[in-house]
């Protein structure tokens, strides 16, 4: 009798447990899976971006409520985030249980074996595998957090592409259109070719001057005191001219044309001269602008068109407390040289970076299991839509169909649709294990070209030589 009672009790418990699994929020499953880890604290570091802040403010407390695992989340500046994460992982101190991995640094981390293989970890701990979490449901962006075997090392949390933004109020103004056509002999439209882009830029700069408006033709992310300028050249301008992978040939370990590289080649020189040639048509702050200041300039209405990171598209188009041009923002694919789109469609190239970041678990972490639960929690479909609305980021395929996002999409001129349909044309950073090192080497040369101390050809040939020297020093040279 007693035995029977026990069995009934067990059955009832099992039923209850199953019941809770099928309830909408899976409360019970999380509580049960997390039971051994309840009360522990996991720590993470991230750059302070809107998506990160949403994680810190909304998702982390929610997770704690579900599981009893505390999440301490540190959001800081980009530079700080890097050095802290790297210091921690290199010194193997175990301060952080999860770190923000910017997409371009992932290959450096993989090469150093800093990160836990999430696919493997989920397979090793079936009891911790949440049913709704599916690695395959992420957008193509997740491909850039995988190793050669296709195993995932980071749960994507934000993803953007750098798009071509233009001011609809200017481009659709009949007077302006007439004036443009009178000057250039063809109708004013958002640019399709680089020549047209330059014409637009020149026209609007002249127009702004003539009307005594604070208006210039284009943004240029040309800070001479920050890597942002090198990034704009290497990840946006270069690729859309057909300069891929920074012009570095990984097989020969060289950036110089003589050794199979392309950083000092004709395409690169053409791209850089074109880009620097836009500076006279950019607002005066361009040579001090990093990514955030470009967005601010554009939001202040100081540029008619420009390359702006997609995470800014949403607030520029909708947030009236921060943007003077809400409702007038047009979103397009960036301008490309002939053949580049075809290259990208065939997988031989890309038209710009697919940028963003993911959360990964360092090997040095002491709470890997609890963190694994946390990463699945933020990777599950049900939290994605609101997070996307708050942070203008999409990493999960299910998010596109959400009504919340569909509504936002109309306000930002189809940015999300563009991300869904054309996202695969963009690619992650080249698989360099020496990303930041080489970028720092190229930096001063790009800065000097912007200042006009060097011509594009001189700057790039010196940069390529310096890159080769650094690659040899790092042990990647041919």
């Amino acid at each position: 009798m007693k035995k029977l009672f026990t069995i009934v009790l067990l059955l009832a418990f099992a039923l209850l447990a199953n019941m809770s699994l099928v309830t909408a929020d899976h409360h019970g499953w999380w509580a049960e899976a997390a039971a051994p880890y309840a009360g522990t604290t996991i720590r993470g570091v991230s750059e302070s971006t809107p998506p990160s802040n949403y994680v810190a403010d909304v998702l982390a407390p929610l997770f704690t409520e579900y599981t009893g695992i505390n999440v301490e989340f540190e959001t800081t500046s980009w530079d700080q985030m890097y050095s802290k994460a790297i210091n921690d992982m290199e010194a193997n101190t175990g301060i952080y249980d999860f770190v923000y991995i910017e997409q371009d640094i992932i290959y450096s981390y993989l090469a150093q074996d800093y990160l836990v293989n999430l696919t493997q970890a989920a397979a090793d701990h079936p009891d911790l595998a949440f049913a709704d979490y599916d690695e395959a449901a992420f957008t193509s962006f997740a491909d850039y957090f995988k190793n050669a075997d296709g195993d995932l090392f980071g749960v994507p949390m934000e993803a953007f592409v750098k798009v071509y933004l233009y001011r609809k109020d200017l481009f659709e103004n009949a007077d302006i259109q007439a004036a443009f056509e009178a000057d250039y002999g063809y109708p004013l439209t958002p640019a399709e070719t680089f020549e047209q882009y330059r014409d637009n830029a020149e026209f609007f700069t002249g127009y702004g001057e003539g009307m005594d408006m604070d208006l210039w033709g284009t943004t240029v992310q040309g800070s001479t005191g920050h890597p942002a300028s090198t990034y704009e050249f290497l990840e946006s301008i270069g690729p859309s001219f057909g300069l891929y992978n920074w012009g570095i040939n990984l097989e020969t370990g060289s950036a110089q044309s003589a050794n199979g590289g392309a950083l000092d080649g004709d395409t690169a020189v053409e791209a850089l001269s074109y880009w620097v040639g836009l500076l006279p048509f950019a607002p005066p702050e361009a040579t001090s602008s990093t990514w955030d200041e470009v967005a601010s300039s554009f939001a202040a209405g100081r540029a008619a068109q420009g390359w702006v990171y997609g995470e800014n598209a949403a607030w520029i188009a909708t947030d009236e407390t921060r943007s003077a041009i809400t409702g007038n923002v047009g979103v397009r694919l960036p301008v490309t040289a002939p053949g580049v789109i075809e290259d990208a469609e065939m997988g031989n190239g890309y038209i710009g970076y697919y940028d963003g970041g993911a959360f990964g678990i360092p090997h040095s972490s002491r709470n890997k299991e609890a963190t694994l639960l946390w990463l699945q929690f933020i990777g599950q479909p049900s939290v994605q839509a609101e997070w996307a609305a708050a942070g203008a980021r999409i990493t999960h395929t299910a998010t596109f169909d959400d009504p919340l996002i569909a509504e936002q999409d109309t306000k930002v001129d189809g940015y999300y649709t563009l991300l869904e349909e054309q996202g695969p044309l963009f690619a992650g950073a080249p698989p360099f294990p020496f990303h930041a090192q080489v970028r720092e080497i190229i930096d001063p040369f790009i800065h000097r070209v912007i200042l006009g101390e060097l011509t594009a050809a001189e700057g790039l040939s010196q940069a390529a030589a310096a890159v080769d020297e650094e690659l040899a020093r790092l042990g990647y040279g041919g």
């Binding site: 720590r43 570091v45 750059e47 302070s48 971006t49 809107p50 301490e72 989340f73 540190e74 959001t75 800081t76 500046s77 980009w78 700080q80 050095s83 802290k84 210091n87 921690d88 010194a91 101190t93 301060i95 604070d214 990514w291 955030d292 200041e293 967005a295 601010s296 300039s297 939001a299 202040a300 100081r302 990171y309 995470e311 800014n312 607030w315 009236e320 407390t321 921060r322 943007s323 003077a324 002491r366």
Partner: protein, 295 residues
């Protein structure tokens, strides 16, 4: 009108001319910081305008109601005050020793102490990071099955910063106090000792009162240096012990620097140090003589 009156009027105008000019120059950036803190983001990026258009306090309320900010503020207060007190005590003892005792090579020790302030901070962050996270680490202390400490490190603690800031504040303090204590006649010490005072008695009844302005200025300047320090605080703390200056850097984000709140927070961080300085104006000048009195 006599020449001397003319001179006096001339001097009056020069004095106030310089006075006003310097005040404007000094206040312009601070005024701009204040104006920025009173603006929305959209207003900031309109045409530059130095006038204050309205009182708009949302930046302040956003910052002040943020619990993280309150924690940072507490940390900053604890760290700078702790550091200033520690520096004051240690520097007094050390300077007294350097001034009164015949220690082998004491001038060399003095110079070595000073060199500690010269080190470029960037490269020293790495060894300090390793030291903070690994050398000073207590895995576990258990007494009677009660775990008192587990996985404690110096990293991300207030005491860690307090001790670390001594590296650049102690040299400065000792230098400052050296002149002050050298200037106190040794005969006073001797007299006190003859009256039966011990070492502590001498320190308490002779040195302390006579070097009070110097000590005050030492404490104030150490406090300000510690309050303003950024690089070490940013790299050697994570969540619990972060100070207010590191929070300033957090406003610089990919989607736009939040200048309004940054300026608001800068204004707020200015207040405590400004109050202290206003209260202690007199002592600062009296204490900063670097031994000029003696000569």
């Amino acid at each position: 009108m006599t020449t001397s009156t003319q001179q006096r009027i001339g001097r009056f105008f020069t004095t106030y001319g310089i006075w006003i000019f310097m005040t404007v120059l000094t206040l312009l950036p601070i005024w701009w910081m204040f104006v920025v803190s009173m603006r929305t983001r959209v207003e900031l990026f309109a045409r530059p305008n130095l006038a204050l258009s309205r009182l708009w306090l949302e930046n302040y309320s956003n910052v002040l109601t943020d619990s993280t900010f309150q924690r940072y503020m507490t940390n900053s207060l604890v760290v700078s005050t702790g550091n200033a007190l520690l520096v004051m005590v240690l520097a007094l003892l050390a300077t007294y020793a350097l001034s009164r005792y015949k220690l082998a090579g004491r001038d060399n020790i003095f110079f070595w102490l000073i060199t500690n302030r010269m080190a470029p901070p960037a490269a020293f962050l790495l060894p300090l990071f390793i030291m903070f996270t690994r050398t000073f680490r207590i895995e576990e202390i258990t007494i009677f099955d009660v775990t008192l400490v587990q996985g404690w490190t110096l990293y991300d603690t207030q005491i860690g910063l307090i001790l670390l800031y001594c590296v650049f504040n102690l040299p400065f303090a000792i230098w400052l106090l050296k002149g002050v204590i050298d200037g106190i006649p040794i005969e006073l010490d001797d007299a006190a000792m003859i009256d039966g005072a011990g070492l502590l008695g001498v320190l308490r009844y002779v040195i302390l009162p006579l070097s009070a302005p110097g000590l005050a200025v030492t404490a104030i300047l150490s406090w300000i240096f510690a309050w303003n320090e950024y690089l070490f605080a940013a790299n050697l703390t994570s969540v619990n012990a972060r100070t207010i200056t590191t929070a300033l850097a957090e406003f610089v984000t990919v989607t736009g620097t939040n200048w309004g709140e940054l300026a608001a927070m800068s204004m707020i961080t200015l207040i405590p140090s400004a109050i202290i300085v206003i209260l202690a104006q007199r002592y600062i000048v009296m204490g900063l003589t670097f031994g000029a009195v003696k000569e």
